[in-house]
Subunit: 408 residues, 2 copies
């Protein structure tokens, strides 16, 4: 099946070069396709690494090894395989990953544990070791490529390549950040996400990088959903080469720490939005702002309950300001809520306030808002100060077509 480019797609941005990062791509031919499907990012000596990974109880070997190896805080290489997730493949899958790690480590001359591997695609088929060996060998010796090439190569059912950049001042030193991501379906990261990578030339201690990444993740990747289905391979990693020469960021007290964290969160948010924009079958990008909840965490869970509700998502697809379905989704979230304090707005217009439909509710501006492709839903719980913003897309015939036709 030919999937058309998402109507919500964005052009690939101009991204800065990151000193200490060299990108290469190659063909491992994991599937019968005429495209590169293996990405190799070589990282300068001393690169700090951080990562957040899927909480799935059925995570892939790549995830298990990566989660363990980030603790040491150092990376020299990243390999991403597209077309085969190598998840649920037991010891055979594990052997393939270990082979790749050894092959790359031998080439670079680094400890095996500093080679990180991710795989994405079909579940349950061991990554073929012969194809991996040939693909890695080709990648090791390929010409360096651009961000857009790497972003396209890590994609699978994605309909457009996704990247985002930012910069920050640390003292007098400007540092650059560039990130790429893939993801379209099976998107409901819970404290983790699809495959996403952020690279920076900043000098950042691994522990701080991890902390800043986790903080950014909580407010970005963990606040998006396409279909409520959490992948077995979700991974977001950050690599900091230190080549910018800034005064090293060791903690939140270091000069520039806040600016760097903000830039990192900015890149993560932009990448997360791009995944929603490529949500399978998506026609509308939906922002759900929850306020007045018992806590920020409670607000996020209520937002995700709304964002994951098929009845809310189909209502938006049908351009129907069906706030009754929003009430339903708040009610089922299992979080503190008081029916008689709940207020709901579409596009800034309150449809219900304090548990009652608004008497002089004017549906005309709301109807106009819903015809657009950027939909805004606001929910106020009226309980406390907890707030969160969650992003999702609508649920359309396109989603069914993509997923009922997809062949495993």
């Amino acid at each position: 099946m030919q999937i058309e480019r998402s109507p919500l797609a964005r052009p690939f941005p101009q991204l800065p070069e990151i000193a200490g990062v060299t990108l290469r791509i190659a063909r491992a031919r994991y599937k019968e396709w005429d495209r590169c499907d293996l990405t190799f990012a070589e990282l300068a000596e001393g690169t700090a690494v951080a990562g957040v990974f899927t909480k799935s109880a059925c995570a892939s070997s790549e995830v298990e090894l990566g989660r363990e190896a980030v603790k040491a805080g150092r990376a020299r290489a990243l390999i991403v395989n597209a077309g085969n997730s190598n998840a649920f493949t037991g010891h055979r899958g594990l052997e393939a990953v270990e082979q790749i790690m050894a092959q790359v480590a031998g080439h670079i001359g680094c400890p095996r544990e500093q080679v990180f591997v991710s795989s994405t695609g079909v579940i349950g088929v061991p990554l073929p070791k012969d194809k991996a060996r040939v693909g890695v060998e080709a990648a090791l010796h390929a010409e360096p490529c651009e961000w857009g090439d790497a972003a396209a190569t890590i994609g699978t059912t994605d309909t457009f390549p996704k990247g985002a950049g930012a910069s920050a001042m640390i003292g007098e030193t400007r540092v650059e950040l560039a990130g790429i991501i893939k993801g379209s379906g099976m998107i409901a990261p819970d404290m983790a996400t699809m495959l996403g990578y952020v690279f920076t030339d900043a000098d950042v201690a691994p522990a701080f990088l991890q902390e800043a990444l986790e903080r950014a993740n909580t407010a970005t990747f963990s606040c998006i959903t396409v279909d409520g289905d959490t992948s077995t391979s979700d991974t977001v990693m950050a690599f900091a080469t230190g080549k910018a020469g800034n005064a090293r960021i060791e903690s939140w007290d270091s000069p520039g720490a806040d600016a760097f964290a903000a830039a990192l969160a900015d890149v993560c948010r932009n990448l997360a939005h791009l995944v929603v924009r490529d949500g399978e079958g998506a026609q509308k990008f939906i922002t759900i702002r929850v306020s007045g909840a018992a806590s920020d965490d409670s607000a996020r869970r209520i937002g995700l309950s709304i964002a994951n509700s098929p009845l809310v998502k189909t209502a938006i697809a049908g351009e129907d300001a069906n706030w009754g379905r929003v009430v339903m989704a708040v009610g089922k979230a299992g979080e503190p809520a008081d029916r008689d304090r709940l207020s709901i707005a579409f596009g800034g217009v309150w449809a219900a306030k304090n548990g009652l439909p608004v008497d002089d509710y004017d549906e005309a501006p709301v109807a106009a808002h819903l015809k657009g492709d950027e939909i805004d839903i606001a929910v106020d719980l009226g309980l406390a100060e907890g707030h969160a913003t969650v992003w999702t897309c609508d649920l359309t015939h396109g989603y069914i077509a993509i997923n009922a036709d997809y062949r495993s």
Copy 2:
């Protein structure tokens, strides 16, 4: 939009008369439709009542009042309004329910608290008191009707009327049970469900009736899902008139208690299945058997995670034995699972065992099984003895058409 009768529909069964129950229907004209939409069940003096209700934090006044009133254990009447759920309507909605209770209680000559009211339909529109008054008055004086008429009258987007019956021997006395239910979308009862009512002529103490209903509910209504969306009005009630003249069932030690509970669970299971068979857009009825889990409760949650996964549901719609998506849904359930002990079967054929694809997996019989409209998925966790069975339907273009076109 004209919704066609579900291809999984069942003919309405022959149900026994229940001594002490008189059914009547009338037109309140809550919507612009040419059909009865108000159901009145009059119950003999001394009728015991039990109920389980939605856990939604945004439950309707009907649910709040009913939940409180069942504690007294006695009922004389049930009124069901179709076409307006009266949920999220604040004090105006509450007034409408209190008016109905007073009107019926005055007619029968019973305490107001023994009149139970349910409403189903659009959320956020106060039930019009004038229409309710006229409809109730008509129902109070209508000719008695059959089970099939009542089942059709409580329905909204249902494509067929749903009922189930059973009988049980209590000592030498045969008791009869008859149940009706409505539901098609917004179906993900969690310890509660859509609108369902079971009537019996058995003499049962209210406390035991409540206990037996809760136990039946846990294994039936709480094990079905259509779309993962939990309604604001979910209600299941049981009424026992005591007219059969059996030795009263007071506890699990009473003679016939197990037989009665089994018959009640049987009716509940059949009613629950009928709701799934009328799931919006459903083309296939899916049974998910989970075994080897850490506990029965854990098994149920894993089953529901699979049943609620849009990727699993669309794969079944596409007749694809995509067990990788089942792995994903097990992994995201947040329950104890060990990837390397997990086994998955379709139609009795194991596709994966102990964390690995089965080497000589024969896809032909599985493909044939998936072409049918009764799909069986088995998942064994390999951890302990916990097991549960969950039922759902597939996710098709029909679901999108129904819910993106629906107007609130």
